[in-house]
Symmetry: D2
Subunit: 260 residues, 4 copies
Amino acid sequence: MSNPVRVTIWNEARHEKSNPTVQKIYPHGIHHTISEALTQLGHVHIRTATLDEENHGLSEDILTNTDVLFWWGHCAHGEVNDDTVDMVQRHVLEGMGLVVLHSGHFSKIFRRLLGTNCSLKWREAAEKERLWVIEPSHPICAGLGEYIELPHTEMYGERFDIPTPDELLFISWFAGGEVFRSGCTWRRGHGKIFYFRPGHETYPIYHNPEIQKVLHNAALWAAPSMRKRDSCPNTQPFEALPPPPADIVSAGIQQDASQL
Amino acid sequence: MSNPVRVTIWNEARHEKSNPTVQKIYPHGIHHTISEALTQLGHVHIRTATLDEENHGLSEDILTNTDVLFWWGHCAHGEVNDDTVDMVQRHVLEGMGLVVLHSGHFSKIFRRLLGTNCSLKWREAAEKERLWVIEPSHPICAGLGEYIELPHTEMYGERFDIPTPDELLFISWFAGGEVFRSGCTWRRGHGKIFYFRPGHETYPIYHNPEIQKVLHNAALWAAPSMRKRDSCPNTQPFEALPPPPADIVSAGIQQDASQL
Amino acid sequence: MSNPVRVTIWNEARHEKSNPTVQKIYPHGIHHTISEALTQLGHVHIRTATLDEENHGLSEDILTNTDVLFWWGHCAHGEVNDDTVDMVQRHVLEGMGLVVLHSGHFSKIFRRLLGTNCSLKWREAAEKERLWVIEPSHPICAGLGEYIELPHTEMYGERFDIPTPDELLFISWFAGGEVFRSGCTWRRGHGKIFYFRPGHETYPIYHNPEIQKVLHNAALWAAPSMRKRDSCPNTQPFEALPPPPADIVSAGIQQDASQL
Amino acid sequence: MSNPVRVTIWNEARHEKSNPTVQKIYPHGIHHTISEALTQLGHVHIRTATLDEENHGLSEDILTNTDVLFWWGHCAHGEVNDDTVDMVQRHVLEGMGLVVLHSGHFSKIFRRLLGTNCSLKWREAAEKERLWVIEPSHPICAGLGEYIELPHTEMYGERFDIPTPDELLFISWFAGGEVFRSGCTWRRGHGKIFYFRPGHETYPIYHNPEIQKVLHNAALWAAPSMRKRDSCPNTQPFEALPPPPADIVSAGIQQDASQL
């Protein structure tokens, strides 16, 4: 891997404007804190984008030049344009990596790609979380010990309504008594998706070096080796075919592919 | 399983109105032929619905009383209302089974639930297809031999852009030189999904007793044992939690769940 | 499903002979307690077998007439004959269901079928366990609530060295701080396998009605619809093949299939 | 990836001693041809080992210093020592990659790691095979087109008795009418496994540049980032536990882990 991974960190960035607690923890926004952490860990080239920028800070050109898109959203999922969701989905299917963070489980783009509700249980009680590493030899878990401990987090509990992950990397234990599949991967089209649970806006989760390590690992892991747009071509046979019997006709009716 | 499985067969039913070849093979519509076949195989209660009926022949009440929905569409996918797609998706996530047939691979509902393009290669040359049974002990394959042979079919070829199936039940061989994952299952939410490739409108595929057997098996397999609507509840701890430190605050910010 | 499921419950049955605590909880053996529970829940026909019986109480005839085999072992895995392990494996691959209980994670048969170490972390501190139901609509979870709570159990913790389960049905929370994938399914050959964690011999786990419910559900789920022995046949082509060029020869060398 | 991948190519190497056709195609053995091809493609350091060497040419030291082991066997699977199989299995579970070739589907080590029969159908008729690339964006498929065509091969047909692959990369079409899952990956323990079907000894398959490309890709893909031996430790709680009630005792009975 010779070139740096081109990462775009997308952040809703609303709490940072209005909530003093969030402002104190993330004075320049969650995207800024993640950007600094990934940059320091190296081999990435970062840009950021936020909801209130024009076109949410995204465009065809930006996504074409993005290897991995990070996504953090919480209180304004519904304000993301459907056209933007369509565009991001298309780029993921063509190979762009996607890392969905914390409350991004309810974002339009995550639900679009997974097809499920992505619902879960939650509680904001600043309780202890221990993320157990299930697959220590997976690249996303590189450099971690047996677990990551967070002294104060929001709780997310099962049942998490997701398709069975291709790989289950982290399971969380919460002091209040719940468990959660906190690190999951899926492939959709040619793109790799990683969901990572930690990241509540009122706790300094993204300042934690182990969390930063996971995000950096995820950026390297999700970067595509190629981009490819699938189509639905009519195609000629490889082998000689006998002529069909006289009573078998081809109707020449066209499929409606208008949704592509 | 004491009660019959309540099956609703949805058909676009447009080719049957305009194309003489299709009319000859399916004079009362594809839905009618499938309905008769399943009824004869027993233990089902069938109703049908078509695109041009009011609300496409579907409603909350009908889907609530449908165990398994069959879906055939081809030339008019774009005419299906998005509200109907939302409604069908919700019922699948709550447990309703879904059997998607042939060119339904490009239907809005299939792509909504899988999150991918669902694109493939195709050719209409009336060639031979042999569907190899990969999992003979799966309920959907009950009563079949090693393969099903269709003398004249439309060809669908890989790469089929789908998420890795939970179960791969059939792989097709085509005389022209292609292969295809022709029978695939997925779980989404509490619902079971089966995609089955054969079924082109200008060949008498749905008159084939082995194809009918698979559809009947699929209806029995996809029927839910329960219906359940997931939500995203705030929840109390099971274990006593220590009070958080003074500098840790809970912001009480609400998640945007407007998309649910 | 008209005929009762024929279940054979295999138990190491050593602790029950020597340990007063175990004797008190399971005076007639763990197998006896499970047998009574399943019988009461109905639609099963039970027999039992134990390590110290001749041939461990198993035979070709018994396994041929067993739909689902339960397996509990702990301190004497190494005493199970390899021939018995071969025989059980063959029957599972031919369709017999297998339910592996608790410390059976280290049994020869479980490791044979999964191919991994099946190692884990453990602690015997009579702590609380809460088994969260991850897939409430799976037949094995029928009739359960959101979780099962056990007041005093042995702890098993991740990393559990298993192949990614086909289905993950339960994740356990332990008071001491660990998590565990406590209910997992796999298909191997034509057989269904379910691993279920609870069941330590010094706590009355198998007297718990919810645990009994899971075991009963598992028996019904794992029962095969057919038995089938795979072979490796030389086979004739379906399509006419051109004669190979003169310089291409077939060597007629035989594969070594002696291990089958 | 700075260091070359250390590959050991293991070959049964019996046909090359006795069969003139095989000798002509692989005068120095199949292992030699693969070794030369991988070396030329770069970034690997190769050693070879064969059945008739002392200890089959393998040792603890060699495997410890092997990142990826290739395995080709056919007529003498039963002659591989079980101790060697144990040793190889342990190294795979600790992270060593394994690439199993063609008739190695019936090798002891492949069946040990998968737990199934690995049976299939076969025919030696020098027929045409077309391997369709199912996941073009997977590293093992890098640099390939839509398919690989082999003019003359042995046929392998479904049903292939394997656990559902984690990833299905190639499906073969055969002129005689069969299909086959020709490229499959699994994770077992910390090791990655790739099975690749082509490679019959009487056809010059391993001289084909596209086949060589796949083998080289597989070597790079299967190389581990770490080695790790799992154990089964007794462990202390992270959280304070209440003392168990007086009637709950810990028996202190030891698990039999003699099989590890």
